[in-house]
Symmetry: C2
Subunit: 760 residues, 2 copies
Amino acid sequence: MAEAEKFSVVGHRVTRVEGYEKVTGEARYVGDLQLPGMLIGRILRSPYPHARILNIDTSKAEKLRGVKAVVTAEDTVKRPWGAFFADQYPLSVGKVRYVGEEVAAVAALDPDVAEEALNLIEVEYEELPAVFDAEEAMQEGAPLVHEGKARNIAMTIDVERGSVERAFAESDVIVEDTFESIPQWHCAIETIGSVADYAPNGKYTIHMNTQTLFSARMRVAAALGVRETDVRIIQAAVGGGFGGKSCDDNNPIVAAILARKARKPVKVINSREEEFLAGSRPRVNMKTWIRMGFKKDGQIRAKHLRIIADNGAYSGKAPAITGVAALRHDTCYKYSDVKTQAYLVYTNKIPTGAFRGFGNPSAEWAVEQAIDEAAHELGIDPLEIARVNAVEPGYVSPHGNRVTSCELKQCIDMAEKMMDWKQKRAAKKPKTGLGLACTVHVSGKRHFGDYDGSSATIKINEDGKALILSGEGEVGQGAATALCQIAAEELGIPMEDVEFSQADTDLTTFCLGAFGSRLTYVAGNAVKDAAAKAKQQILEMASEMLEASPDDLMVEGGKVYVKGAEAKAVTVADVARARLFRRSGAPIVASGSFDADSVLPDETRYGNESGAYNFACQAAEVEVDTETGQVKVLKYVAASDCGTVINPIGAEGQVEGSVAQGLGYALIEGLRMEEGRPINPNFSDYRLPSMRDMPALAHAFAKSYEPTGPFGAKGLGELGMDPTAAVISNAIFDAVGVRVRTLPITPEKVLKALTEKGKS
Amino acid sequence: MAEAEKFSVVGHRVTRVEGYEKVTGEARYVGDLQLPGMLIGRILRSPYPHARILNIDTSKAEKLRGVKAVVTAEDTVKRPWGAFFADQYPLSVGKVRYVGEEVAAVAALDPDVAEEALNLIEVEYEELPAVFDAEEAMQEGAPLVHEGKARNIAMTIDVERGSVERAFAESDVIVEDTFESIPQWHCAIETIGSVADYAPNGKYTIHMNTQTLFSARMRVAAALGVRETDVRIIQAAVGGGFGGKSCDDNNPIVAAILARKARKPVKVINSREEEFLAGSRPRVNMKTWIRMGFKKDGQIRAKHLRIIADNGAYSGKAPAITGVAALRHDTCYKYSDVKTQAYLVYTNKIPTGAFRGFGNPSAEWAVEQAIDEAAHELGIDPLEIARVNAVEPGYVSPHGNRVTSCELKQCIDMAEKMMDWKQKRAAKKPKTGLGLACTVHVSGKRHFGDYDGSSATIKINEDGKALILSGEGEVGQGAATALCQIAAEELGIPMEDVEFSQADTDLTTFCLGAFGSRLTYVAGNAVKDAAAKAKQQILEMASEMLEASPDDLMVEGGKVYVKGAEAKAVTVADVARARLFRRSGAPIVASGSFDADSVLPDETRYGNESGAYNFACQAAEVEVDTETGQVKVLKYVAASDCGTVINPIGAEGQVEGSVAQGLGYALIEGLRMEEGRPINPNFSDYRLPSMRDMPALAHAFAKSYEPTGPFGAKGLGELGMDPTAAVISNAIFDAVGVRVRTLPITPEKVLKALTEKGKS
């Protein structure tokens, strides 16, 4: 990439700043932590999908030797909490609403005693009628998951821009279809866990593997009924987040309640089964009815969506996720007349939540297939229909999203080239097909408190090394590395002279954390701001030392030079020491902040949700075994526009990981439930894509520069998995002419579709 | 105090911010810490005062089951380090120079294995002639402790201001005497300890109970041969410092070397014996010859001091301590012509170091007795001779110390009153006497890098609570509480809304730490600066919210008001949230700094060592049992000028603790050594003053305001023990006419002096 040439650190392939300790096994995950006198906590969970709690008798458990605390709702303030709607409790109050809900908990000297104590807690339940299907739950007379929530509807979206009626009337071709997605689990190798500690002055310190520390602080404080500052969240090393470690679950809160009662630190780590039941909250399952109108040339004229989103028992982030599914795609292609109705519906099932893509994969599963259907109906190459509709810089979506940089067309070109699209289409082989889909994603999302910002402090030590104090955290995605690169670039010091702090709500300023593909863009801008301010302090001091105006100085490779007289130099370490050790000495330290120039959507959901939008086009070549229904992905290509690529190694990893999760979503994954009871909550029965499931993968990054991004960068982390399921389904259709409309696309479903097609 | 009336928080009696966790036993001292896989480290120490190391064979120790690392100098960079002179090694290189020196160390799974491994290390020594007396060490031909240090002299001071020859000629009375002090130990209840951790990226993290984190970082990095940033020091709760935890010893460095070799965290905690031998370094022992000339009215005309200071085997802070002993008193009384010669001399004994008073108690032991002698000779009330000579605001000492605020005369008045001095003198009873001494101390000391500053960052959380991020640390002296009060006062928020961070070199900016009675004054000013900047951010935001100019606003009790319209208010929490959660949102965070307006002494030792000077006058009434030599302190009074008293409870505790340590110094303490081998390094044989040794104690604080201090405050922590030994000796002389010239003043020595007096 030509742009990278300008940069000393940004755009270079650098190894992960926290990589060494991870690959040597010396990183400290929450499971590794030991605190003095630490106890082990375990949680008693509801065996019923819906039941009234008549009585809980903890007396036998309390008497067990080695048990230090037993807690129920009686040990809590019984104040509901939640990311958007306050509808859940740390420990069940009166009722349980899904199998796996936290009813009581114990802290004991060891796990065996804790486990035994759980067996001694006697809970008397009165089973209640339950509802497991979102459409059934919306019927009058269905059992109510939450009292007062008529027809179990947690949230409704009903938005029309322009006139879909007129637009459909003006369409040459109309397609209509219904698609259903699945709840998909993050399956991070490390489950959610916390070590909570309670100090006698009333302060809780919780070591967590969360990806959103300050939101965790806010939610834990709310659930415990204390002030934010009374909760300190310290991030341990995180073994994978993907949205699942956003603190929508009760794990840290239960640990905190136990710690307060036991007056000892308590470690609560989810087992894999618990992780499926009530840990990382799976992708919201959506049933999407879609109707789209097109002009003859493939131009999209109208779109009408109706989404029924299965929220599960508690809402978490599902309201925002449903909003994304309902509206986001309208920033991918040029839309004018659109209508979206979406219903988020409570059921007696595992609560759902944030997962890479955040509603986008479920929506694109429907929309990008409908467009593919139209392309086939219109006889247009699916790649061309994408090209016709792809947005360009300056586009404003019907909902107000303003696109600054956009290289979607370049991505389509790159995907075409990497796939040999035209040649392959021209020489189509039987049972082999090509599919394609495009996507848009955000670089941060403005919602919470009309804020989508970040802040960071940078200090320069006397040895010239910089430390970034940031509460954004590193969750394994490489954010720390990218942020160090941005700081190094701005400061003019070598990459190895920058460190990234452990995230800690006490010691860093407010940060929203890792979600919405925001860190490189939003936190990157905050870090760049702090670095620029620190650099100013360096230049002012160096100006005295070198007897030159700060404007005549440059910093590069850790040295400050007089421009044009580069022999005249001092090191940044010299400057840092000189600034500190002198009369009126002071350390080099600066706080920076950034808030995206986005606009909080109004009550009609009109706004501009993000400061920058990132785009991708992906294509697949598949071969379908018509005897077995087996789908083999022969080749996969991904072209991404994420602005300037800060760390190519990291960016490639993000794309590869996204595609892998997308392929799992498309072909393999899914928790099966019977009457609200999961039947495969383990890695033997819930299969994940492995190395051998990965196709030959080619990827490329568009030459792109986001003017509002740090050194031109924008988000990437989620982009790569948004379109994947649709890409695969479109390719299958191209190969064998059948379309499986429910995820995952199993061989059984393909075979059934082929059989039905054969019949018709 | 009238001044306190103006303040909401400052001057109020507040409980310690870290008190609750300490009294409930839940504070985490370094001994409490557990890290995953942590090993126990033990150190093999030299049994000889001076010997060459011919060979070390660690092979047997290494083979012992459970031993994970054995280290010697071969595992180090063999680079000497030290606070002022680089003369010591983490592990002996070639030679040992005192009994207790670190020769090798092991890390093992448990303490017993570690101990057994020490026994298996075979060290072959060649004993060398040793020297134990400083005067003998200065003789030509004495064994050299360090090669190249002629006559074992580590440092010489030779300063004359004015002309002492002329001044003695102009004196009416001349006194001349010689006094000897003792090495005194801090005897903090918690010994020095470290838990060191080494990350594979090369970073050392050391949890320590140090009182000077950044100096520790600097020294540990130097000793390990790495950059400062490669060492992170985190302060654990500290169970008493008193100067002994200033990181002049090898404990953390040995722990770090073990951790690197074992690739596991290693805990090294000094036993009590190790603490005496090589842990907290005792007060420098000084032999002081003094000659002073006075005018008839008691005015001091001339002073000539000659100090021989016994440095022990390695220098640590003894050079600076000797400097204080040599020159500091000249800021207490009005001096014009003074001459000081001081020699810091290496011996084959335990290295000495910083202890509350830092050279001042040893000097005053001599000077304040010489003045007392002159008063008796001149027939002047010792209280009057102090009054005649006491300095006043505006005084500049012969060495350049500039006195801003000074209420020494007020202190003398208060001591007189509290003691009923005149009445008691008038009605003197046999064997009962009164003694008195005055002192001056600093509020921070400019030496290291021409810097005596501090820095702090304050952030305000969304709940309106403030967190002070400071690397100064809390060592049990109450600094955190005073700094919280200063921040609360400046911010206008309640005391309970301010927290003080754990000190951590990675997460806080550069701070020199706790020494030189500097924290309230120097760190207080830095915290106040940060608070003022944070308050400015509060006012700017509140100005928008309240539609009033920032100048028209005031903050009090956590609320921002429009002056004169106090119903119009928002809380600081409202402001913090409003500033963050909005377009262009940012947290409230500000970094502050301060550097004292002092002047680094030049090569002639002329300068102005501190930004402010604090003063005290203490007096005692004693009764001497002439049969046993037993001295009973009937009453003790202490009047102190520390500027504004920030927290009266804390200030009183400082004075009481100082006097207790001063009485121990005067009457009880002292390690006995034979041929460099301590014979009482334990609490059975090294007796400390206990409750029953404490006399009735009255104290008072002068009405005083230091214009450069935070809210008028200056230092206090050491002041109270500077004069105590001289006070007691002067009182004994007044009671029974004998003077014991070597510390401690044991009954045996008193009896011997009485017997000799009887003979003559």
